[in-house]
């Protein structure tokens, strides 16, 4: 069966080549047909891999290395993409899927343009398939087939982590189609209002799953790893953040191009860069050049091939951009104090922020080339990324009401005074009874500022209550997204500054005080699961009359020879009481003393609610049916 899948993948490769050749020649219908055929072939190929996992066919090397008969069915299926080769197959499938979707959905009335976009998409798909089949094949057999698989990494047997790669890839690889549309537009020499109207839903279609994928990864790390945090500025995390930031800039730049025909060069460049960062991310994660807590098993050869692909594909697109950008038309004139000016500022801030993240992520590599071994951690990013983004966020509510071309800035001082006042209130609260650190106060002020700004803007557009439901979906999308951003900022700052971390060592019957809670260890029992055994602690936490039991575990999976931490989290509605169990230490002749790491994470749910709203807002914007209005300059 897997051989049939292997053959189908080669068919997909051939179909992609046909799609490319016909597409770049302008044959819209023919290239569209091959795009759809490629999808059929690749879907079949992918399903044969899934089928091999479901049936635990250990004669397939990939299944033998990454699966086990004891795995629950859902995780057998998810095991398909929980490894390098399988996830590359998923990458190819998503890319081909977007091409086919484009073939089906594009109706611009410009067949040559559409054909070219499909052609470029074909190039990208061909390259990823070639890499898959020649350097990372999931289709190889093992002879003799082992009786049992060796892959039972318990960390991967988790619902959030099972969905996380497909979500992320819909995002990363989704930007490949935006890249293709941009390349087609550049070839034609036109990145105009019509181009932006076509391309924007596709950019949003990539942004939404990327947002959810990053959030899922973060939330998984939070509850699974036992480190109490939700973002570690780890290279793999940064690899997903960079395309997201560029994607955010792209979405906004596209609005300007759609409404006014301006920012053509910026929009085209950002569209190309988004996928370049996706490819860069794939390279960083899979090549082993960077030390990471999430590192996959690594292979330098595969890494060099990915780097080569990135350089060739990205380099060609940037060259195309450099050659065609001077020919792109601009829109009407605009002042610095105008909506265009504000969104240009947004482009700048997000691009610079991305560059600082890139620098921090790559600096260890650069240093290594000159013989130094260093690492760049959270303090660097807090010092650079945070203030740069804060600038944009402070400006957001002030500038979002600005009109196109030239804004009325007479009420600017009112806004500035408002923000200063808000910060002042929180600073006072800090030296008053509430004891909020200054940084947390600013963060809280910024979050509320953004939420207030979002509400203020939608009210400004509606003016009356009964006009609210009549506003276009994209206005609601903007409101939710910016309000979500405010919630995120509020949650992130308060959680980071308000988080407490304490290590406890308790014998059964002992108590300790942590952040207002009295923690008492009742006992620690040995328990068993289907493919693991564990020590499970029974801890009671009591505060102000509330009493709850927490049962953190330290599990051991014999088949994988791996321990994991199962944290216990008690949500109080305002914060999380989070406990991870460490080792038991036998005291001489006495009871065992158990160690615990106890975190209190305030407002952690607000962080994820905020991100959820951002994704939802972008989704609403995507389904809005836009009507084209004339440009008034």
């Amino acid at each position: 069966m897997i051989e049939a899948g292997h053959f189908a993948a080669f068919l997909a490769l051939a179909f992609s080549a046909a799609q490319t050749g016909l597409g770049l020649r302008g044959a819209r219908d023919a290239s569209g047909l091959f795009a759809k055929l490629a999808l059929l072939a690749m879907a079949f190929a992918f399903l044969t891999i899934v089928w091999a996992f479901v049936r635990s066919d250990f004669s397939v090397e990939l299944v033998a290395a990454h699966s086990h008969t004891l795995k629950p069915l859902a995780y057998k299926i998810a095991g398909t993409w929980g490894n390098h080769e399988g996830s590359m197959a998923l990458w190819c499938l998503v890319g081909i899927g977007f091409g086919a979707a484009g073939a089906y959905l594009l109706k611009t009335g410009k067949p040559v343009f559409e054909a070219r976009a499909l052609g470029v998409q074909g190039v990208l798909n061909f390259a990823s398939l070639a890499y898959l089949l020649l350097a990372s094949s999931p289709f190889t057999r093992l002879d003799p087939a082992p009786l049992q698989g060796s892959g039972l990494n318990p960390l991967l047997q988790d619902p959030a982590l099972a969905i996380h790669p497909p979500m992320l890839y819909l995002g990363y690889v989704g930007y490949s189609f935006v890249f293709a549309l941009a390349a087609a537009g550049l070839i034609e020499g036109k990145i105009d209002r019509d181009w932006a109207k076509t391309a924007r839903p596709w950019a949003l279609a990539a942004f939404v799953p990327l947002t959810f994928g990053i959030a899922l990864g973060s939330y998984w790390a939070y509850y699974e790893l036992g480190w109490g945090g939700w973002w570690f500025w780890d290279p793999v995390e940064n690899a997903s953040l960079m395309p997201w930031l560029i994607g955010a800039a792209l979405m906004h730049s596209m609005i300007v191009t759609e409404k006014r025909g301006s920012f053509s060069a910026w929009t085209a460049l950002l569209a190309v860069l988004a996928f370049c960062f996706s490819m860069l991310g794939a390279f960083l994660v899979r090549s082993g050049v960077l030390t990471s807590v999430h590192a996959f098993a690594v292979d330098p050869l595969r890494g060099s091939l990915l780097l080569g692909g990135l350089l060739v594909l990205g380099g060609s697109a940037l060259l195309l951009f450099a050659l065609r950008a001077p020919k792109l038309q601009g829109g009407p004139e605009w002042l610095a104090t105008s909506r265009e000016g504000a969104l240009m500022g947004n482009n700048l801030v997000l691009t610079v922020a991305t560059a600082t993240v890139l620098l921090g992520t790559l600096f260890p590599l650069i240093a290594e080339a000159v013989g130094q071994t260093i690492s760049v951690g959270e303090p660097y990013f807090n010092m650079t990324f945070t203030p740069i983004m804060a600038l944009a966020l402070i400006a957001l509510p002030i500038v979002q009401a600005w009109s196109w071309g030239k804004a009325d800035i007479s009420s600017l001082w009112k806004w500035a005074a408002g923000f200063a006042g808000l910060v002042g209130v929180f600073w006072l609260a800090g030296i008053g009874p509430f004891d909020i650190p200054l940084l947390a106060g600013i963060g809280l002020a910024l979050g509320l500022w953004l939420i207030f700004g979002a509400g203020q803007e939608i009210w400004r557009r509606a003016k009356t209550v009964d006009r609210l439901p009549k506003l276009p979906l994209r206005v609601w999308g903007m409101t939710f997204a910016h309000a979500g951003l405010g919630l995120f900022v509020m949650g992130a700052v308060l959680e980071t500054s308000g988080r407490t971390q304490t290590t406890l060592a308790l014998e059964p019957g002992q108590s300790a005080q942590v952040a207002g809670w009295t923690m008492t260890l009742d006992d620690v029992r040995s328990i068993e699961g289907p493919n693991w055994y564990a020590d499970r602690a029974h801890l009671f936490a009591e505060r102000d009359g509330t009493r709850t039991e927490l049962r953190p575990q330290k599990r051991y999976y014999p088949a994988a020879r791996m321990p994991t931490t199962e944290t216990a989290i008690h949500k109080t509605g305002v914060s999380d009481l989070y406990v991870a169990l460490g080792d038991g230490r036998r005291t001489a002749g006495g009871p065992t003393r158990w160690t615990f790491e106890v975190f209190v994470n305030p407002l952690i749910d607000i962080i994820y609610l905020g991100v959820l709203l951002i994704g939802l807002g972008a989704g609403l914007s995507m389904v809005d049916k836009r009507k084209k209005k004339a440009v008034t300059s």
Partner: protein, 141 residues
């Protein structure tokens, strides 16, 4: 304002922003790029400044792990040079932390040459080994 003057102002503003960002990044890197040490390197080149945040990597010397009365512990890190560094840490150890296994600790040295670790990174699965440890060299005994 004439178009050309406007463009000059625009370019000027962008340049200022870029220069400021680059300067900020440079300062941040200077202050927060954590150097990596191995016991052999420290024996050769001496201790880093007291209190400066650095990383130390190597292998946990078998038999060196001792627990304190509370949640603290100390252990020795060694590498192929035969030198050792004493590390003290309060907290729960990561899942694969064991004697004889590789470890990278982040923290700072005190005046006595003991390393106080804020965090410890051990292997997180059977196949993964941090690049820095590969170069440091596992002790042969």
């Amino acid at each position: 304002m004439r178009a050309r003057t406007k463009r000059l102002w625009g370019v000027g503003a962008v340049a200022v922003v870029l220069i400021a960002a680059v300067a900020l990044a440079a300062v941040a890197l200077r202050q927060h790029a954590d150097l990596f040490y191995t016991p052999g390197l420290i024996a050769d080149k001496g201790l880093p400044d007291q209190g400066k945040r650095v990383r130390v990597g190597g292998w946990v010397q078998t038999g060196s792990l001792t627990y304190g009365d509370a949640a603290d512990m100390t252990f020795l890190i060694e590498d192929s040079s035969g030198e050792t560094v004493e590390v003290s840490y309060t907290g729960i150890a990561p899942d694969l932390f064991r004697e004889g296994e590789g470890v990278v600790a982040t923290g700072s040295f005190d005046t006595d040459g003991n390393f106080e670790a804020e965090s410890i990174l051990a292997k997180h699965d059977e196949n993964y080994e941090p690049r820095e440890l590969k170069r440091a060299g596992q002790p042969t005994s």
